[in-house]
């Protein structure tokens, strides 16, 4: 079999020719930067959601009616969700580059996204998918010189499998004010690219979505910009647990009516949703849905998903629509990837399958690391091993 990553070879040659390369050595190390990258991501993307002060539902709910029943609405009764999008990511630490007095990590990532279509008979098929291999380097003051970068850009083709990315660029997951390790920034860049691929997947369903053919996007609906497509919801399995809800007349000061998300979710009954809350000045309505009974699970916050619905016009969501979205979502709890994924209690099976579809397209670690060969004579002496620093989806 020919080297599937032959595109990378001239890039590595340029690096080896122009900078000192210290290839990674030793066994792969799992990245334990954060216990849950999704929750971290929700914190980063939805940093403005730390304080929730308004409902985004009409008629406006009262503080005494925060929960609404949403009994499951199975597909066979009323088809609702048809498309499911998820992305996946794997990052590898390749080497440390040294140019002048600057040293920086050279990282590689495999990212991909897939959209799964569920047919009327309940069977799934892969509608579209994309897979990219990213070479992640910092440019500028903390990274590679403009001269070398210019040479590398020569090999960067937008239609190719391999892409070159500057990890120091700012984006939704890497704000200007954000300090951080370059390796973390590389991870954030890869994740950002994965979301871009997910948005490309949404486009693949344009024209096919309508009131009976909705799309579920795994995670948040806002990246750099809001996803403005219609008939789409973001469903997050993991979400930040620190938002504070200040609702009601005495929402500030002494005797304030403040609740935290844990308190709200602990009281959320099975097959119910919370009222829809407003974020980003009403451009996103979000609420929580309990898919599974608490007695089936270990912890009160298990079995709950966060639903985000874009409201580009800033209008509140009609309660009936939020109910419908939630009821169809409760029905999605079966089948479950129990035993295959620790988040089974809030995982949606078609989303799990989208994740599997893209992961199965990834090159295995053996193939990937075998395909990456630093030109021996030019690289610093050292073993050829590389380090896997992280994986996420």
């Amino acid at each position: 079999m020919p080297n599937p990553l032959a595109e990378l070879t001239p890039v590595l040659e340029v690096l080896a020719d122009n900078i000192d390369v210290l290839p990674a050595a030793g066994k792969a190390v799992e990245d334990y930067l954060h216990p849950d990258p999704e929750e971290l991501e929700d914190t980063l993307i939805n940093r403005e959601m730390g304080e929730v002060t308004a409902f985004a539902e009409t008629p406006t709910p009262s503080l005494t009616s925060l929960y609404r029943p949403t009994p499951p609405l199975p597909r066979i009764e009323q088809p609702f969700y048809r498309f499911f999008i998820d992305g996946s990511i794997r990052t590898y630490f390749l080497a440390t580059g040294i140019e002048g007095n600057r040293s920086f990590p050279i990282e590689l990532a495999q990212v991909g996204a897939a959209v799964i279509e569920r047919r009327p008979d309940g069977n799934l098929r892969l509608l579209a998918s994309k897979h990219k291999v990213l070479l992640l380097l910092p440019k500028g003051a903390k990274g590679i010189s403009d001269a070398v970068w210019h040479q590398l850009e020569h090999f960067d083709r937008s239609d190719g499998l391999v892409e070159l990315h500057d990890v120091s660029k700012t984006h939704a997951l890497n704000r200007e004010d954000q300090e951080g390790d370059l390796r973390n920034k590389a991870g954030a860049k890869a994740r950002h690219r994965m979301h871009e691929l997910e948005i490309e997947m949404i486009r693949a369903t344009d024209g096919s979505r309508d009131a009976h053919n909705w799309l579920i996007l795994d995670g948040a609906v806002k990246l750099d910009e809001f996803v403005e497509s219609r008939y789409l919801v973001g469903v997050a399995k993991s979400f930040r647990k620190d938002p504070q809800f200040y609702l009601g007349r005495r929402s500030r000061g002494r005797g304030e009516d403040r609740r935290d998300v844990t308190a709200i979710l602990a009281g959320l009954p099975h097959a119910h949703r919370t009222a829809a809350f407003s974020a980003y000045n009403g451009k996103v309505a979000f609420w929580y849905v309990r898919l599974r009974e608490q007695r089936e699970l270990d912890y009160p916050l298990m079995g709950v998903v966060k639903v985000e619905l874009p409201r580009p016009g800033g209008t509140p969501v009609e309660a009936e629509l939020a109910d419908l979205i939630s009821r169809a979502l409760v029905a999605e709890r079966n089948v479950t990837p129990y035993g295959r994924d620790r988040r089974w209690h809030c995982h949606l099976y078609p989303i799990f399958m989208a994740e599997q579809a893209i992961k199965n397209r990834f090159f295995s670690e053996d193939v990937l690391l075998g395909a990456i060969r630093w030109p021996q004579a030019r690289a610093q002496a050292g073993p050829e091993g590389q380090e896997n620093v992280g994986e996420g989806e």
């Binding site: 597909r75 569920r118 799934l124 079966n334 089948v335 129990y338 089974w344 399958m353």
Partner: protein
């Protein structure tokens, strides 16, 4: 349905995984949705060729099909149904695939590289099946139709056996197993005999001896049966055989004591010969008669040997002994109203011999033992010595007691064996080149286990040396494990009908894969597995109903 873009005949693609490799002997493939494949279907896959740019074909036998899902456990499925809710339909169908396991049969360019991943799998066509089984390498003259291989896609082809492996010289014998009640074993034996005879270049050089052990099953094989249904006629036609009764049949029926001159049979064919045993005719077979008499110390064996020798050689003590009555009630074994010691044999041994002989030929006999035979009551051995090629001899033993059946079967085997070993000088025509013997319930005559008896020895002789003499044994029994393993081991062709799970667990079925063993428990009426020396794997066949008359009169 199969993917139209890859041709409507593709079933799926081969699959090799980290844990389950494809090997030179086995490979797996996943099935496209909607495709139906069954165990024993023969499939083909493209394989590399001996030179660059060339391809070859690897053929395989599907042994089992498995459906796998991504559920990590049954618990996952339970939970996926809302923790065991029966009414709730899951919103999404769980991902699953059916995987076929295949045993490699052959490669048409002798390349036994493992089949690669992602190769398209097709049903083998008729020519492919012949190639897969090695039939193409059989000379046309040596092909004996043994049944039709029917595939799940409706295609069928003829499974041929190689004559050289049935009648010699390469190997010989056919053994048929399967539970009773499906009327399959006997029917198949009769079918394969028909096939051998119809396809023989010189049928006049083959004689067949058939033992009828049940009812009147085989007492009208020369008579045409009622018209066969169209589908049965088509099977005969597909096999290239004529649906016709046997020609030149000679019926040898046991004499009856109740109806002198008439046979002791369930049915009287139009023409037949009676046979009976007087002392002179049975003297040299007394050992066979005593097969089932317990003889832990060997005393009976000794006394029987001496008496046989005395009578056959007309020795002094036996000069006046010419009937069963004289042997039982006269000298040298009996005098003055009691058993008498004779030669080295103690009186008690003689007494035991007499008691058993009286039981066998007097008190508990069907009528074939008589002191004096009538003219029309033939000696069976004499009739067999006159055996002619092109003829089929049916010897009826259905109404005989077990000991009598053993005697008759042993008598036939011994006579045929002697006939082939040393051709009698008084024959006007040569002994047939091949003598085919069919016997059901072989476990009675050659049971498994260490104990041997004269009849077992006789069967073993035929099984092990019959090939070189031209004596071919087609035998049947319910359970292969109940038959001496040297008999079944020497059968180059084994036919297996439906069998219970406990039986297939016996070591006699080691030659089958575990998956195929379980398939044996599901075989239907008229379905059989053939394990033939030329085939790498057993194949499933069907065969037509007999064209001779079977109903009872």
């Amino acid at each position: 349905m199969p993917d139209e873009t890859v041709g409507n005949s593709a079933l799926g693609r081969t699959s090799a995984t980290e844990r389950e490799a494809n090997t030179s002997d086995k490979f797996s493939f996943w099935l496209a949705p909607g495709v139906i494949v069954n165990p024993f279907d023969i499939v083909q896959v493209e394989q590399v060729g001996p030179a660059a740019g060339e391809t070859s074909k690897t053929y395989g036998l599907v042994t089992i099909l498995e459906h796998r899902t991504d559920a990590a456990s049954h618990l996952a499925n339970f939970i996926s149904n809302n923790f065991g809710e029966l009414a709730a339909e899951p919103n999404t169908l769980r991902q699953g695939a059916t995987v076929g396991r295949v045993n490699v049969l052959s490669n048409n360019r002798d390349i036994y590289m493992p089949v690669s991943n992602e190769r398209l799998v097709h049903f083998a066509d008729a020519a492919g099946i012949e190639e897969a089984l090695g039939i193409t390498e059989m000379p046309a003259a040596d092909r004996v139709p043994a049944g039709l291989i029917k595939m799940s896609n409706g295609a069928s082809t003829v499974a041929y056996l190689d004559r050289r492996y049935i009648l010699g010289p390469e190997s010989a014998h056919i053994n048929i197993s399967g539970i009773s009640g499906l009327a399959t074993k006997t029917s198949y034996a009769m079918f394969i005999i028909q096939s051998i005879l119809q396809k023989a270049a010189n049928p006049e050089k083959i004689a067949v001896i058939i033992l009828n052990v049940k009812q009147a099953d085989l007492l009208q094989i020369d008579k045409p049966g009622p018209s066969l249904p169209v589908e049965e006629m088509e099977k005969w036609e597909d096999l290239g055989l004529e649906p016709r009764p046997f020609k030149n049949v000679v019926y040898l029926l046991p004499a009856s004591s109740e109806h002198p001159g008439r046979p002791n049979s369930f049915l009287e064919p139009d023409g037949y010969h009676l046979f009976a045993y007087d002392l002179d005719a049975a003297a040299d077979k007394l050992d066979l008669l005593f097969t089932n008499v317990s003889d832990p110390t060997g005393t009976m064996d000794a006394i029987i040997g001496d008496i046989m020798q005395g009578i056959v050689n007309n020795e002094g003590d036996f000069k006046n002994v010419h009937s069963w009555s004289q042997l039982l009630n006269g000298p040298p074994l009996f005098k003055d109203g009691q058993s008498k010691g004779w030669g080295d044999h103690h009186r008690s041994s003689v007494g035991k011999f007499r008691r058993n002989l009286r039981r066998l030929v007097k008190t508990r006999q069907s009528g074939i033992f008589m002191d004096a035979r009538a003219k029309n009551q033939k000696v069976l051995a004499d009739e067999v010595r006159k055996i002619k090629g092109g003829y089929t001899y049916v010897v009826d033993i259905a109404k005989l007691y077990d000991d009598e059946q053993t005697l008759v079967f042993g008598d036939l085997l011994r006579t045929v064996y002697e006939l082939k070993a040393e051709e009698p000088e008084d024959r006007s025509e040569p002994v047939p080149e091949k003598i085919i013997f069919f016997v059901d319930e072989l476990n009675k005559y050659a049971p498994g286990g260490a104990r041997t008896s004269p009849i077992t020895e006789q069967v073993l002789d035929i099984a092990e040396r019959g090939r070189s003499l031209g004596v071919i044994l087609i035998s049947a029994q319910q359970f292969m494990s109940a038959v001496h393993n040297r008999v079944t081991g020497n059968a180059a062709t084994k036919i297996l009908g439906r069998t219970g799970a406990a039986e297939v667990a016996q070591p006699d079925y080691r030659f089958l894969d575990d998956e195929l063993k379980m398939s044996m428990t599901r075989l239907g009426k008229g379905e059989l597995l053939i394990s033939h020396a030329v085939y790498r794997q057993p194949v499933k066949i069907i065969f037509p109903k007999p064209a001779y008359r079977q109903e009872q009169r």
